[in-house]
């Protein structure tokens, strides 16, 4: 038993209770009479001989019988005493009033004895109940996943649960009576007594009933994050504090793993998005490569020995243009690499215009063949946002590609990416809203209502994860994503991003 509760029974009563145990059985009755006999028998021959009243000698036996046995043994001892005195034949010698007094005393003692016995029985029942309750409590404390430490007002550990033993590496016996500081790493270790003092003086509650994430120290000196909830018990000898401790290291590693998986998923979907664009991207790269090959072949022809006078200017011009195209190809590859890199998800202060421009450059690859008219209407006052650039570009890429697909074969093909103030704030923060508008076929039920659900797709080869990942990303940014019908036909996708209003936060380029 690790839990130490104050003993409900006064220490003095203990031997008495042990004797009481003897009298609980059926033999009680007869055993109670035993002291009576022990005392009375040696006295019998003396009765009548001495000046002393025989009743006086018999009173102790009545007292003992009553005290130990209760009402009935007391009464019996009284009757036996009366009988003995009578049998002694000298009743006349002792006046009748003595017999009456003896009888009265006997009755009184018996009555008190009975009360005493009843209260002893109650105490025993109470103790059994307390013990049972304590065991139940203990079993609960041993099973709850949270560790529990009970301390007094001075910070001394009174109780230390099994989980706490496991968590901290100490046994209950080792920590009992020591200051709870030992479970905390520096510098918290030195300030804890001060907290207790302050609480005792002012009654101010800083952690009690609130719960807080703090750091704890194991026996081996390693530290780990815990969630600590403290309750206060006010007793006669000052306050006691119960600390419930939940180990967060496991939960934090689980959360970290979840975030890792999510980042992985987001990354994979970026790769998928690019995979779907591979033909368009190959074409986009093919253009500068073809141009380079053409320039170089042409230059080679100009420089052939059979050529009369190679025009220096033309050669240089062509080489310059070839270089330009090599850089163009490099730029495409750089954008691609940026987009597929497995970046740490870090939110920075970014220019929305730049994000949209770059995402558009990727997403609109091949769009010109579809004859889509693209317009960017970005409000410069709402340009600065707090985002993970690549992830927001992924969202934009997804929305823009969807818009282009939705407009395939439509007479009017217009894509507008615009930004401006959001109608609503999220959590009191100023938000910037980005809108991607198309003039496609619009959304029909049941797709419209389940737009952001995973694995729901209208595309023949789609996985249906694009928009659900968009939502994951935007919500991780503290924003919201939704779709509304375009009044002129088609769909408008909206999403919000945290707006940065302080120009000081803008990084210097």
């Amino acid at each position: 038993m690790r839990l130490i509760l104050p003993d409900p029974t006064p220490r003095l009563a203990a031997p008495f209770l042990r004797v009481e145990g003897l009298f609980r059985s059926g033999r009680r009755f007869w055993l109670c009479l035993l002291p009576t006999w022990i005392l009375v028998l040696p006295c019998l021959p003396r009765i009548g001989l001495d000046e002393v009243s025989p009743y006086l000698l018999l009173i102790p036996s009545v007292l003992l019988a009553g005290a130990l046995g209760g009402g009935l043994p007391g009464l019996l001892a009284t009757l036996i005493g009366l009988a003995c005195a009578g049998l002694g034949g000298r009743v006349g010698a002792s006046p009748a009033w003595q017999a009456v007094i003896f009888g009265g005393i006997g009755l009184g003692v018996s009555a008190f004895g009975e009360m005493f016995r009843a209260s002893r029985r109650d105490v025993a029942v109470n103790i059994a109940a307390v013990e049972a309750r304590e065991q139940r409590l203990q079993s609960i404390l041993d099973t709850v996943p949270d560790a529990m430490v009970l301390i007094n007002g001075a910070g001394e550990i009174l109780a230390f649960s099994k989980t706490a033993e496991r968590l901290f590496g100490y046994t209950a016996a080792e920590v009992r009576g020591r200051n709870v500081r030992m479970l905390m790493p520096a510098p918290y270790r030195d300030s804890h007594d001060g907290y207790l003092d302050r609480h005792a003086r002012t009654g101010e509650k800083r952690i009690i009933g609130v719960g807080r994430i703090v750091v704890a120290e194991r026996r081996d000196g390693s530290t780990f994050p815990i969630e600590l909830a403290v309750g206060e018990v006010k007793g006669q000898d000052g306050s006691m504090f119960t600390g419930f401790i939940r180990d967060l290291s496991e939960r934090q590693s689980t959360e970290a793993r979840l975030q890792e998986l999510q980042a992985e998923l987001v990354h994979m979907s970026r790769l998928t998005a690019l995979g779907e664009m591979s033909s368009a991207l190959a074409h986009e790269l093919n253009q500068p490569l073809s141009a380079i090959a053409n320039y170089l072949k042409g230059v080679r022809r100009l420089l052939e020995p059979s050529a009369q006078n190679p025009d220096q200017g033309r050669v240089q011009d062509a080489l310059d243009r070839a270089t330009e195209q090599a850089l163009r190809a490099g730029e495409i590859i750089r954008r691609l690499r940026d987009f597929v890199r497995r970046g740490e998800t870090e939110q920075r202060v970014e220019s929305l215009a730049k994000i949209v421009e770059e995402a558009g450059a990727l997403a609109l690859v091949g769009a010109k063949e579809h004859g889509v008219r693209v317009v960017f209407q970005l409000n410069a006052d709402y340009d600065t946002v707090l985002t993970d650039r690549v992830q927001v570009q992924q969202v934009l890429l997804n929305l823009i590609r969807n818009a282009i697909e939705a407009m395939a074969g439509r007479p009017r093909r217009e894509l507008i990416v615009s930004s401006g103030p959001a109608d609503t704030t999220t959590g009191g923060e100023a938000m910037t809203e980005v809108r991607v508008l198309d003039t496609g076929g619009g959304l029909q039920e049941p797709v419209a209502s389940q737009l952001f659900q995973p694995f729901l797709t209208t595309k023949a080869n789609g996985l249906g994860v694009g928009l659900s990942i968009c939502r994951t990303i935007i919500e991780a940014h503290g924003g919201r994503i939704w779709a509304t019908p375009n009044p002129e036909g088609g769909t408008v996708f909206h999403f919000t991003l945290r707006r940065v209003t302080d120009p000081e936060e803008m990084p210097r380029a």
């Binding site: 190959a282 141009a291 243009r321 063949e369």
Partner: protein, 214 residues
């Protein structure tokens, strides 16, 4: 009388400029256009182009439509179609509607100039060429011909495999064999030869509809 100028249309400025430079360095006179409509306007205005080179992917009007419309304006006009990689079905389509040749990007300058020379000579392929290609075609087995027909029809391997009731892997084998026998350097060249040399190929040797297969 044709004007002796190569007319070139491509929406990508760098590609357009570089092809013009290449052709000029080879001694041709070139007029370049960014917009297919400008080409059609010139044809309507009576320009007798010696040859037209066009890209397939263009925003205003795709290359195929340009081939159709310019052939309508000038039925004898030799047209060379340049395609990006992987646009073989488009190119096949272009050949069928009367393009003289098609070239995959990026291309070898010799390849382009040879095609251009043939086009300008106004004799796309001599009878010898045809005879030669037909001789080679005759060497193909029945299955190889069927696969080649499927390819000329612009079907992917999987569809051909399904129609012929063989595995896609086997289709690849027949395709590779056909390429070797025909002496084709690329798949595009194989298709080009098949279209140019054997007009009898056009009617289908292969059941086109699934229900025909029973």
């Amino acid at each position: 009388m044709r004007d002796g100028v190569v007319h070139l249309v491509d929406d990508d400025a760098a590609v357009r400029d570089s092809i013009a430079f290449l052709l000029e360095s080879a001694g041709y006179r070139v007029t370049a256009y960014a917009d297919p409509h400008a080409v059609l306007a010139a044809l309507r205005a009576g320009v007798r182009m010696a040859c037209l080179i066009t890209d397939v992917r263009m925003p205003e009007m795709d290359g195929l439509q340009l081939v159709r419309e310019s052939r309508a304006l000038d039925p004898e006009l030799p047209i060379i179609v340049i395609t990006g990689h992987g646009d073989v079905p488009l190119a096949v389509e272009a050949m069928k509607i009367g393009a003289a040749d098609f070239i995959e990007k990026p291309f070898d300058d010799e390849h382009l100039i040879r095609a251009l020379r043939l086009a300008l000579a106004a004799a796309p392929r001599g009878p010898d060429d045809h005879a030669d290609i037909r001789r080679r075609l005759d060497q193909l087995s029945a299955r190889e011909r069927e696969v080649l027909q499927g390819l000329v029809d612009g079907h992917p391997n999987k569809v051909i495999a399904w129609r012929l009731n063989i595995s896609p892997r086997t289709v690849e084998v027949y395709r590779a064999k056909a390429m070797t026998k025909m002496g084709a350097g690329s798949f595009a060249e194989l298709v080009q030869m098949a279209i140019l040399a054997d007009l009898r190929f056009a009617p289908s040797l292969v059941p086109r509809d699934p229900e025909d297969g029973g």
